[in-house]
Amino acid sequence: MMLFNKKKKLVSQNTSGNVNGKTMSNFYLSRQNSWLLCLCQCLNIAVVALELSTWMLIIIALSLAWQALLLQQNRATANTSRGKHPGTVQSNLASKRHSHGPSKQLATNISPVVLGIFALLGCVAIALTAKQVGILLSMVHLLCFSYALKGFELRTRRDFYQLLLLGLFILASALIFRQDLVFSLIILSLLIINLTVLLQFFSSENAFATNLKVVVVLLGQSALLAVVLFLVFPRLSPFWQVPFAKSAKTGLSDTVKPGDIANLTRSTKLAFRADFGGQKIPNYAQLYWRAMVLENYDGRQWRRQNKVTQNKADGSGTKSLIFDASNTEVLPLTYQVFVEASFQKYLFALAPAVVTGNASGITAQTDYTIQSSTIISQAKSYRLTSYLTAPLALELSPQSRQINLSYPQGSNPRLEQLALQLQHNYVDVQARAQAVLTLINQQNYSYTLQPPLLVNNSLDQFFFDSQAGFCVHYASAFTFLMRASGIPARLVTGYLGGEYNGVTNEVNSAGKIVNKGHLSIYQYDAHAWSEIWVAGKGWLRIDPTGAVDPQRVNIGWSNQLLQEQAELNNTFFNLYRMKNIAWLNTLRLQFDALDYQWTRWVIGFTSQQQYDLLKHWFGKMVPWKLALIIAVTLVLSMLMLMLLLHWLNRPKVKKQAFAQWQIIYHKAIDRLAKQGMEKPLAMTVNDFAKKIRQQYPELALVFTQLSASYNRLCYQTLSISEQEKQTVTMQQQYHHFIQVLKNSDKKHL
């Protein structure tokens, strides 16, 4: 009965591998491969699942579940239909039109019309939500949607290819959203799985593990070419540039109200890294990474001055106000910053800084921040030189002064009153600021990640009632007090400190430690502080946080803060645990170092870096030279590929001496050898067929036919046309044989 069922399948396969030599129109995927494909689909969707909206995820999950259900059903129908018409192969030939091979083909019992309507509805839904989620995400939605639906119409081999290709495309698009090391490794492993599924289709006789090995080896071999192309292939915009993903990201925003940054500190995501290239890294308390200067205060939140008014305020000659390195005698500190994709324009610097090296689109601003002209949608690196102790803006334009003194009158009456008092008591500007700090320090203020909620973001309430807050609270209140007491002041946000990772440090021959480490600055290092302008000294950085929690400013997070964060995050691998379990922390640092190298050398390899590298290798770059290099590389790599192929085919050249029937027969006996039925060297074809007949009765018929064909082709003198005909027959017999073999395999399993 079992055998009969196999035959039926065989026949449908047999007739589809047709005689005319056209491509197979009928597509057959074994049960195991169908399940593999289904699993593969799920995994591919999973990598972009975070970016998809819930409704889309539900649709995709439903359609994948449906496909799985169909697969399951097919198995049931295949089982029940077994043995209904015990007949000869010939009679089955007649009924082959009705007997599709089971498994994925029955998936077609969703009518194409329904599928089409469903697809159309989905597209309309995607189009409707496109405005909300942005063009890129809606494209990803569309991709995933079609990927999920394509599984329903696996009718031809082409459909199968399309499905796999879509899957690979999804994997590639997933890299738009995340590029870190772990994620890239996940994508790589998924790529391997996808390719293995493809290979499985072609050589399903092999075990999955065998095919997996083949794919890994192939990928390993092609890695060299990939590296070469990675290095020299032009990164043409816009093709080679990742489109902007409009997605909510952790990071600083350009409006800040008290309580904002406290939320940000729950995130342990990396913000950026800084590499000082072996120089001495400044003290923790000096590592104020400036991101944004917020000068507008409306009584509730701080806002950036928009550029036009800012320029107007600074006067026309904005250039002159940008920090000029030539006038200062302060020692320069040069370092490289590697930022993660923030989908913002601001960058980080230890002010005042100038951009060194040729980083296009990155400019220093008049407020001593560094900005990118485009949104940072992928990891980016730039080189800066900072003059840490140099004064900022010794002159202040009237407009600027006015902006930095303004505050909504009456928004925080008690603070205003205090400010007047201070103004009265302390004439000296710096003494006035110091008085506030002393006040904060001596009174019962506390520094906490869980500040009480403030009504209307009232600074009064914070300063006089709750007296518990995070950096923004203190900086806001301080800046407000300063402004109210007549000192130009502004809020600066950015990051404070950073974690030094010395895992990559080396000891040189002289026994000294070569500093190869880097600073990793995480989102929880986000900070806000104040600047006041003092005549003759320029903008002075005052960090009121230091008055309430000196440890935060000088060393980093206190254990109490870490604990608070752990409670808030409620994850197992929280920072508190991480930092207090030594081996875990070492592991974390090791991984961070690895990820840094990945970011630096792979993700950070932008067109600029590429240009520099090529320049380093080949001298000054001119377009024709670039084109020549690319062309030569391509030609060379193709040549190498051809040589490699030629070399790989070398043993096969011998095989070409074999006639086609010999190859087929060898394939067949190789398959049997894998089953443990090795053909002894000296055994004739007929004797072997006899042996198979005895040991594998279900193979008897088909293998004997195959052997007879071989004998005829090999030993009988046939005319050319007879030979061709017999070869075609033998090919069919071979396919038939493979099918029977597979099925008997399954049975034995």
Partner: protein, 346 residues
């Protein structure tokens, strides 16, 4: 020359006759269908047959039934150590009536010559057969006489370790296309033999059996056999087999044992081109019997042992030691070392 019908037709037309012949032989030589087929193949291939076995195993019976079934004239000659060449080929005798020398044809002028216990005769007598077997002609007193067609020598011999035996010279052995040994019958066959032997006077039943085919038919079949087509693959297979024996021989004689392949084969004599020819011819006959007009390696393998083993053995005729098995023989080892699918090992 008139166009002869294609081989395929002859092959197919002959099948009935072949089956009939085999059936008839097998009713006499019980329980040895394979040996019967080989013997018939040998005859169809126009080769001579050497049957080597212990006394009383049915050697003579086989020879006899072959001759009668094929409708050939037949004479048996018992070889003894005092047998002279003239006893075999014949001699001229002076006829006093006609005053002339008259030729007395010896037993060799029969179509089937059964040389019983050939190794009991002296080498001189044995070699008298030589010319006859190779050239199908004999010379008596300087006059050459053609032998009848078909001409077929069936010799039987006792194993060498038996008393009073002269080993056949290698050159003579080489003239025999096949060397068969019948071996002991199995229980069932032996029972049958015992039952039937009580009902008949052994030889006579075979004698009384009428011929199944005519001489002309037999000659046509023999011609058809030689026209059986041989593919390149089979030719290469045969060549590969003889090459293995030659390599093994040279590595043995030069005492260099460098390659594992030849080292595995025990010492053997090389196969001559005549041996290859015999092998091919015998294989053709096997294919013919199998109703095919082309040779398969199966045919070559089927006849390889009987065609080549006696040409391969180092010490001639030391065979038939019952412990010697076909499966461990030199011939088998050579067969096992050649890849059927790719004989010359591209």
């Amino acid at each position: 020359m008139p166009q002869t019908p294609p081989v395929v037709d002859i092959v197919q037309a002959s099948q009935a006759a072949i089956t009939a012949i085999l059936n008839k032989i097998e009713t006499v030589v019980l329980g040895k269908p394979n040996e019967c087929r080989l013997a018939l193949a040998c005859l169809l291939a126009q080769g001579h047959l050497l049957i080597e076995d212990l006394p009383g195993m049915g050697k003579t019976t086989l020879a006899h039934v072959l001759a009668t079934t094929l409708g050939l004239t037949y004479q048996r000659t018992q070889f003894t150590n005092d047998l002279l060449p003239a006893d075999i080929v014949g001699f001229s005798i002076f006829d006093q009536k006609t005053n002339r020398f008259e030729l007395h044809k010896g037993p060799i002028f029969n179509q089937v010559v059964l040389a019983d216990e050939i190794n009991r005769a002296s080498p001189k007598t044995q070699s008298a057969l030589l010319e006859a077997m190779a050239e199908q002609q004999v010379s008596i007193d300087g006059i050459t006489h053609e032998l009848p067609r078909p001409f077929f020598v069936i010799a039987t011999q006792n194993p060498l370790f038996h008393a009073g035996t002269y080993p056949l010279p290698e050159s003579q052995l080489d003239r025999f296309m096949m060397r068969l040994s019948l071996g002991f019958p199995d229980i069932k066959a032996e029972k049958q033999i015992l039952l039937t032997s009580s009902q008949r006077t052994n030889q006579k039943t075979a004698d009384n059996q009428a011929a199944v085919v005519s001489q002309d038919e037999l000659i046509a079949m023999q011609d058809a056999v030689s026209q059986i087509s041989v593919s390149n693959d089979v030719l290469e297979y045969i060549i590969a087999l003889s090459h293995v024996s030659r390599r093994a021989y040279s590595s043995h004689t030069s005492q260099v044992n460098n390659s594992g392949e030849t080292a595995a084969i025990i010492s053997c004599k090389p196969l001559s081109p005549r041996a290859s020819k015999a092998l091919l011819q015998a294989a053709k006959a096997m294919a013919f019997i199998d109703n095919r007009d082309y040779i398969l390696p199966d045919d070559v393998q089927a006849v390889f042992y009987v065609v080549c083993q006696h040409r391969l053995e180092m010490q001639a005729n030391q065979q038939l030691d019952p412990s010697q098995q076909e499966s461990t023989s030199v011939a088998r080892q050579i067969l096992n070392s050649v890849d059927v699918l790719n004989p010359l090992g591209y």
